[in-house]
Chain length 130, copies 2
DNA sequence: ATGATAATGGTATATCATTATCATAGCGAA
DNA sequence: TTCGCTATGATAATGATATACCATTATCAT
């Protein structure tokens, strides 16, 4: 018996699977719907609990975005940014970095990082707008 | 008497002044503190009300940002992005655009706009960290 | 299979930004 | 100066997101 006894549950597995298979950042609600496909009856509280645990473990990474709920994505990807579809709201990964190496800052300012978001319409939503 | 009778109040003037003099986007709380310098007793509800009116008039523009309250800045500036100080939380304007002209998107995606945020330490906060 | 206890599900509650309510103050036209 | 009516200030209510609570379920070492 260890100090903390972590158990593997179907819900936990379903939630991890949801993020692992998504290939894009998911909101808690999206993760819920996806996890429920694998294990019906998963509750939203369990999703939040597991997200928090997975973030603490370093397996998940929060993706905060302007004016919308926080998404979470599997950690460890190389530097990249995101695209949000104006139609469906889904967030997608963008490969690479579209930022200049050195954005010019006001005198005396020091940069430590940056975020870049592209907005538009995803492939799945374009046909629907014809 | 016109259909709608808009009155000029000291509060309204103080709030507009706050944004006009800031030269950077302000949160409602920041606008409140600044407006109270010009007219003590201004309430936060009045700030929100006037911000809403000024946005509808097109004089103010909302600036949504990741994981923090919406800021508002005087409209009509040319394309630019923002810098947020990790120490004091203030948002500053950055001149120009640090984004590549054409970020590569997944197949079939269409871009309509982008946002860029730089994080770091502002000039005012660097001495305090020595 | 058993049992100690971690984890869950359903829901109430916390949190925070913003909006609505309403009695009162104070613009401004006459 | 008067007076109608808008704007204000204080605060309650709201909406969205996230956490707390607790009775019940289910994992896993034995």
């Amino acid at each position: 018996m260890s100090i903390r006894d972590i158990r593997n549950t179907r819900q936990k597995t379903a939630i991890r699977e949801a993020f692992a298979e998504a290939n894009r950042p998911l909101s808690p609600e999206e993760a819920l719907r996806s996890a429920q496909q694998l294990h019906p009856g998963v509750g939203i509280a369990t999703v939040y609990r597991n997200i928090q645990t997975l973030v603490e473990e370093g397996w998940l990474q929060p993706v905060e975005l302007p004016g919308d709920a926080t998404r979470y994505e599997v950690a460890g990807k190389k530097h990249h940014h995101h695209f949000q579809c104006n139609e469906c709201g889904k967030l997608y990964d963008l490969e690479g970095c579209a930022a200049q190496s050195k954005p010019k800052l006001p005198r005396g300012f020091r940069a430590s990082g940056h975020e870049f978001f592209v907005y538009g319409t995803c492939a799945a939503c374009i046909p629907a707008r014809q």
